[in-house]
Each structure stands twice: as structure tokens, then as C-alpha cells.
């Protein structure tokens, strides 16, 4: 896929992200629920990080803190050396930070898909023609036939379609920090593959990508670092290669072995020569096709 990013919105300086000794609780009328206590984390600029952890471990809350949608009661959040809530939400944040929510269909507010996807571009004074071109391009990247969908109301979309449209509305802005909450949940195989290809490309361009997901196939492909949250603390911080090959560790966090490992083991049992490492699904498919063509043993 050749770079489809026609509009070059200025690239700001690299974004390093820091959470410094933060404490955060949700405070209701008669209930306080603590999510983080004295929690610290640093993400380097251009890093692609996967966040895993059981239900309620604080993953979505972490993304909201990074986007400045929640403020910690103690400690500091710094995105490119600024507190994210100091940025004016509808201009700066929308321009630099792209956040895909866990329930993206709740964020829609425009009457057509095209207006929804192009909303931020219009806000930044992009011409009508450019807006349209850019929207169509991004929708195509995600596997849509734009002519069939741009005039639809975003509220009539199926849930998988809604997730992709919400992602498109972020991508059009070319953000340099992406915060993604379960981007492949409910996507069909074409959608998941398109998402993966786009994230690969953005990663090569140096976009900082923080992805909350239970999808080990996705995370193995797109992240250089995995963090597992448990009870408001970091239970693991290391590479996908270390985590996904350690069955006991994974099981303790509530995850099965990724299917690529399961299949690599099956191939090994069948006498195939396999290296002791994490293969991608594409690599395994390639290897088996080579073998059946008699090129390898």
C-alpha cells in the first residue's frame, strides 16, 4: 500500500508521554472507586505499545488520562511536555491526539458518515474538495466502498462499521499520538487486516500508538512493547516475544496462547523444522505454502 496521506498536516515535535506518580479514582455521590495509586509509566516517542489486562484493570481509564479526558487527583500526566487537559480540546487535542473509544458509536453526532469523518478537517479550515478526497481515501483504506456509505447516517451503521468509521474520523487528521481502545473488537477478518496494515504503516512513520486490546494476534504484529495492567499496577512490561511464549505467565493474566504459537507447535510435532520464536500468521502461511511447493522441508 503506497502512502495515502495526501494532506500533510504539520508534524509537531515528537511526543514523549509520561505518567508521574499518578493516583486516580472515580468519585461518585456515595462511592469512590480507586483505579490507580502512585502509578508511573513512560512511553517513548514513536513507540508502539499494547495494553492488556482483565476487565476493569484500568486500561480505558489510562487512555482517558492520556487524552486529558480525565485528570488524576495526584501526580502528573505529560504529553509532549504539556498536560493534555491544558490543550484546547477541540483544536489541539483533535489535531494531535486521535482517540478511538471502546464504544465509538456513542461519539457520533453528524448527520452523514462523510460529515462525521470530515468533521475535524472542516474545523481546521481544510477546503471542501480536499476534505472529501481525504475522507474517501481513508474510508477506502478501511475497506469501504465510499459511494455506498458516505451519505448514510452514522447512527444506522452496524457496530463493526461504526468502529471503522470512528477510526476513519481520527485517521483523516494524521495524529501523531494514537490511543486505541479495542480497535479490532467485532471486526470481520477484512476489517482486522486493514486495521493491522494501517497501524503498521503509521508505526513506520513514527506515530506513537498505544493500543488497548485482548487480541494477541494484533498486538504481536503491531507492538514493540506490551504492558499488562492488574489492579491499577503494571503486572508485566516487556516484549510480545517474552509474554506470548510464556504460557503460565499469559494464563495468569487471563489469556490463552496465541493461535500462531499453537500452530507452530503443531507443525513442530508433525516434524517440521521450526525456529524457537514467535511467528506471525502470514509467516506460517508462507512457510507452509513453500513447503507444499517442495521448496523447503
Amino acid at each position: 500500500m503506497e502512502s495515502p496521506f495526501l494532506l500533510s498536516i504539520d508534524w509537531e515535535s515528537p511526543v514523549q508521554i509520561e505518567l508521574k506518580n499518578i493516583s486516580f479514582s472515580y468519585r461518585g455521590k456515595d462511592r469512590v472507586s480507586e483505579v490507580f495509586r502512585d502509578f508511573s509509566l513512560v512511553f517513548a516517542s514513536g513507540e508502539a505499545v499494547g495494553i492488556m489486562g482483565r476487565e476493569g484493570s484500568g486500561k480505558s481509564t489510562l487512555l482517558q488520562l492520556l487524552a486529558g479526558l480525565q485528570r488524576p487527583q495526584q501526580g502528573e500526566v505529560l504529553v509532549a511536555e504539556k498536560a493534555p487537559w491544558e490543550l484546547d480540546r477541540w483544536t489541539e487535542v483533535r489535531k494531535n491526539i486521535g482517540i478511538l473509544f471502546q464504544f465509538p458509536e456513542q461519539q457520533f453526532f453528524q448527520e452523514t458518515v462523510e460529515r462525521e469523518v470530515g468533521f475535524s478537517l472542516r474545523n481546521h479550515g481544510v477546503s471542501r474538495d480536499q476534505e472529501r478526497e481525504r475522507c474517501w481515501q481513508v474510508l477506502r483504506l478501511l475497506g469501504f466502498e465510499p459511494e455506498a456509505i458516505v451519505q448514510k447516517s452514522p447512527f444506522t451503521l452496524s457496530i463493526g462499521e461504526a468502529r471503522k468509521v470512528a477510526f476513519a474520523s481520527i485517521l483523516v487528521m494524521n495524529p501523531n499520538l494514537l490511543l486505541l481502545d479495542e480497535p479490532t473488537a467485532g471486526l470481520d477478518s477484512h476489517g482486522a487486516e486493514a486495521m493491522m496494515a494501517i497501524l503498521h504503516q503509521l508505526r513506520r512513520r513514527g506515530t506513537t500508538i498505544i493500543t488497548v486490546s485482548h487480541d494477541t494476534n494484533l498486538l504481536a504484529e503491531i507492538s514493540s512493547r506490551i504492558i499488562v495492567l492488574a489492579e491499577g499496577a503494571t503486572a508485566f512490561d516487556g516484549t510480545a516475544n517474552t509474554l506470548f511464549r510464556d504460557n503460565n505467565l499469559l494464563a495468569g493474566f487471563g489469556y490463552d496462547q496465541p493461535e500462531t504459537l499453537r500452530c507452530a507447535n503443531l507443525l513442530r510435532k508433525k516434524g517440521k523444522v521450526m525456529e524457537d520464536r514467535l511467528y506471525s500468521a502470514d509467516e506460517l502461511l508462507f512457510l507452509t505454502s513453500q513447503r507444499s511447493a517442495g521448496k523447503l522441508r
Binding site: R31, S33, E55, F103, Y255, L267, K270, A281, L285, T288
Partner: protein
């Protein structure tokens, strides 16, 4: 048995059929899986099965009864539906009351309500959250609640529309085990809409929906063996089948 015959649906003001000629059967004690691309019509189909959507053609019957105005309430009692968006189902101020709500509507005695609610909260790891507002739960917690609140009613049929999409694999397995328990002990018939092929593998039959039509049906093992055809429909296939090593253990 839930049965559809030549079910067709077209949205108002639209010329395209979202569903066309769908024939489907879910018998008591059965697990039927339904897969298909985003927008292929899976949710619309499930909505036809409990009368939320009025088919524009064909018929739906539940244990032989058509979905008419008179018997819609009785049918909704028999067909428990877990929606794809767990937010739509929330009606109560606390987790505990959300689970008890359906039982209260059925005039179940208080003591039984308390027993069943407690048991289900344990099974779904919601006991600690019992006094929390469902709106304040995390995405995965909301999904567990949505499933618990329907399963506690022990309906004759259960429809799960991608009800576990935000759960880690161990929780998804727990949910499937609880569904199996209802199926085996109470002969509940289950229709499972999913993007997780390993869940579909447990079904007695797998249907593939493509642009509103059933294009493949059969035992999951047979259907997944046509890996290339399924990939063209956007259906995720277990890697074993894509590699041609399924069944090798």
C-alpha cells in the same frame, strides 16, 4: 424450535434487502453459530427472531407460534436476547437490581430472586460490583452483566450477539462453559453470533451470512475446511484450517 422460512428484510426507504431468503432452525439444546462480515445482517437477523424488527417477507416461528402482536410478549420471554451493545440493555441503578429486574417482572418469589441473583453474580464475578451503577462499569464488566441478566431468566432460547467481544480469552471460555451448562441441563437452544472462530467450532452447525444470504452451512469442521471461500466473505478462520493442519494433534 426457532425457525425462519425465507426471511427477508428491507429497511424503510431502502431498496436493498438486508436479509434475503434466510432459512434457519435452532432446536432446544442446540448450539448454532452464525458468522459473517460487518454489515452482512447478523444483528438484523437476531432482531427479527424476537420481534424487534418486523420481517418484510417470510416467517419466523417460535415453537410453532408466529410472531404476532398477541404473542410477542410470551415469545420474548422464551427468547432471551443479549444485545451487541451492552449499554442498550441497562435499566437499573445497580448491578444487583439489573439482574433481579427480569425475575421481578416474572413475579418470581423474593427469596428465589435473591438466591438466583446471588448465584449468577458469583458465576459472572459481579458480586463485588453489586452496588455499582451499571453505567459506571468497564466495557467488559458491562458485557458480563448483560449476559448474566439474561441467563438468570433461564429462557428456552438464548441469542448472543457478539456478547463477549471485550472479554479476554479466559473470561470468554467461562461464559461459553456457562452457556453450555444451560444448554445441557435445561436444553436451552442457543444462537451464537461471533467473530471468534474457536467459539463457532463448538457449535453443532455453523451458518455463514453474506450480504443477507446464507451462503454456507454445515458442521463447523466442514465449513472451516473451505478456508478460502470463507476468507473471501470476511469470515475469520482458525489458523489450523488456513494452514491445512486441522485435526492433527
Amino acid at each position: 424450535m426457532i425457525e425462519t422460512k425465507d426471511l427477508t428484510y428491507t429497511f424503510p426507504l431502502s431498496s436493498e434487502n438486508v436479509l434475503s431468503g434466510v432459512n434457519l432452525k435452532v432446536e432446544e439444546g442446540d448450539l448454532v453459530a452464525l458468522m459473517g462480515a460487518n454489515g452482512s445482517g447478523k444483528t438484523t437477523l437476531t432482531r427479527c427472531l424476537n420481534g424487534l424488527v418486523q420481517p418484510t417477507g417470510g416467517s419466523v416461528t417460535v415453537d410453532g407460534h408466529p410472531l404476532t402482536q398477541e404473542n410477542i410478549r410470551a415469545i420474548r420471554r422464551r427468547v432471551g436476547m443479549i444485545f451487541q451493545d451492552p449499554n442498550t440493555a441497562i435499566t437499573s441503578p445497580t448491578v444487583e437490581r439489573e439482574i433481579a429486574f427480569g425475575l421481578q417482572n416474572l413475579s418470581v418469589p423474593r427469596r428465589v430472586i435473591r438466591e438466583k441473583t446471588n448465584m449468577v453474580m458469583e458465576q459472572f464475578h459481579l458480586t463485588k460490583l453489586r452496588h455499582v451503577s451499571p453505567m459506571d462499569l468497564s466495557g467488559g464488566e458491562k458485557q458480563r452483566l448483560a449476559i448474566a441478566a439474561v441467563m438468570v431468566l433461564e429462557p428456552t432460547y438464548l441469542i448472543l450477539d457478539e456478547a463477549t467481544s471485550f472479554l479476554p480469552s479466559s473470561s470468554r471460555k467461562e461464559v461459553m462453559a456457562l452457556v453450555d451448562q444451560l444448554r445441557l441441563e435445561l436444553k436451552v437452544g442457543v444462537l451464537l453470533v461471533t467473530q471468534f472462530p474457536e467459539e463457532a467450532l463448538r457449535a453443532s452447525s455453523l451458518l455463514i451470512l453474506h450480504k443477507g444470504q446464507i451462503v454456507q452451512r454445515g458442521k463447523p469442521d466442514e465449513v472451516f475446511s473451505k478456508a478460502e471461500a470463507l476468507e473471501a466473505y470476511g469470515v475469520p478462520v482458525p489458523l489450523e484450517y488456513r494452514l491445512g493442519i486441522a485435526g492433527a494433534n
